[in-house]
Symmetry: C2
Subunit: 219 residues, 2 copies
């Protein structure tokens, strides 16, 4: 375990490097809302502690140790979110901020008890998978709603953003994780998508539909 700040860097490096396996100083600086030199010196420190592999002017990569640390934090964050929703009755759009704080609580007991009370859940309220104590992530095929063929029937399994404004929008449209929907129409002009959920048509902008993840393959 590192400091709170180190944990936040590791978490961000993890999520930003998911796609390509590495992340650049500028991306991290933007995400963490600090200046480039700050990231630079922090990354050197994380490298000294063997959380990341890094050479000047190259991308930053997590080591196995760093990945393990990242997954431990993510596990805590997602368990906390689900706990806040299921046990404490809060809304999925308001738990992210609280979980950002709870994820730094250091207590195996606290988190293992949560896991137990929630009956070893596989995903958080946004559909994101919850790593187990060994850092193992349950995987399920998922693609953006925006990439689905017209006529296809799919299940919403996750959202790829957890900003309150976005979740509020989904709440307003009456959409949630687990819903089965049918793709009615994809507009070429603006990329908006019309879907059918229990007899009701719902129109989603491209920006929204690309952040809704559904079961199954790409088109």
């Amino acid at each position: 375990m590192g400091t709170l700040t180190e944990e936040n860097y590791i978490k961000s490096i993890y999520s930003l490097s998911l796609a390509t396996g590495e992340v650049f100083v500028s991306e991290l600086a933007k995400k963490l809302e600090v200046k480039l030199p700050t990231v630079n010196s922090m990354v050197k420190k994380l490298a000294a502690k063997k959380f990341v592999a890094y050479a000047p002017y190259q991308g930053i990569k997590l080591t196995d140790k760093g990945k393990k640390e990242a997954l431990a934090i993510i596990r805590k964050h997602r368990l906390a979110e689900l706990f806040l929703v299921k046990v404490m009755g809060l809304g999925w759009e308001e738990v992210h901020e609280i979980a950002e704080q709870l994820e730094h609580v250091n207590s195996e007991r606290f988190y293992n008890r949560m896991d137990e009370l929630l009956n070893y859940p596989k995903a958080d309220p946004h559909g994101e998978p919850i790593p187990d104590t060994h850092g193992k992530i349950p995987t399920e095929k998922r693609t953006p709603l925006s990439a689905q063929k017209e006529g296809k029937k799919v299940k919403i399994i996750a959202v790829s953003v957890d900003q309150k404004s976005f979740l509020d929008h989904l709440n307003a449209k009456g959409l949630q994780i687990g819903d089965t929907i049918m793709i009615v129409k994809r507009e070429l002009f603006d990329g908006s998508v019309t879907i059918l959920k229990s007899q009701k048509e719902i129109v989603l902008s491209h920006q929204v539909s690309e952040n809704i993840l559904v079961s199954g393959d790409e088109t």
Copy 2:
């Protein structure tokens, strides 16, 4: 709200100054496990922020602002402890450490929801009163078990220490908050006390009995 460190200083100042209304630099240093100059500079900072009133070589006193802050932190700590016991099923002897971390979580929503789920409780698992959102503390007359007359029947309402070793000891003796007991004998020699709880005699050392608080007046 101050920093985490400031919050810990304010909390300690509050508890150490409960009896006399003030606390000395050396006491604080001991409690917080830091050196005197560290406390000295921190106290100057807290004074600049109007959390404490302080003049060199004098005792440290919380201002009204400081008291309010202290009570807000204590409220969060005690709610968290009770929540961990009642909702999460942890033991009263293991929740203190976790609550020390949870008390710094910044979320009205989180704590008010806890309060609601616990049905606006008056005391934590150790019997300590829980301040309300305005910092008001429910009071109840309480005196150490060690100061009770032989033959008296009293109810255990709190413990004045929450070290795991002490609570483990009470668990082993089968005593808990809410128990009604009778004082059988007070030994003059070593101050130990023999009590009766549901037909069973239990012997408690002076050190233990002075940290068990019971209903009612002094002898």
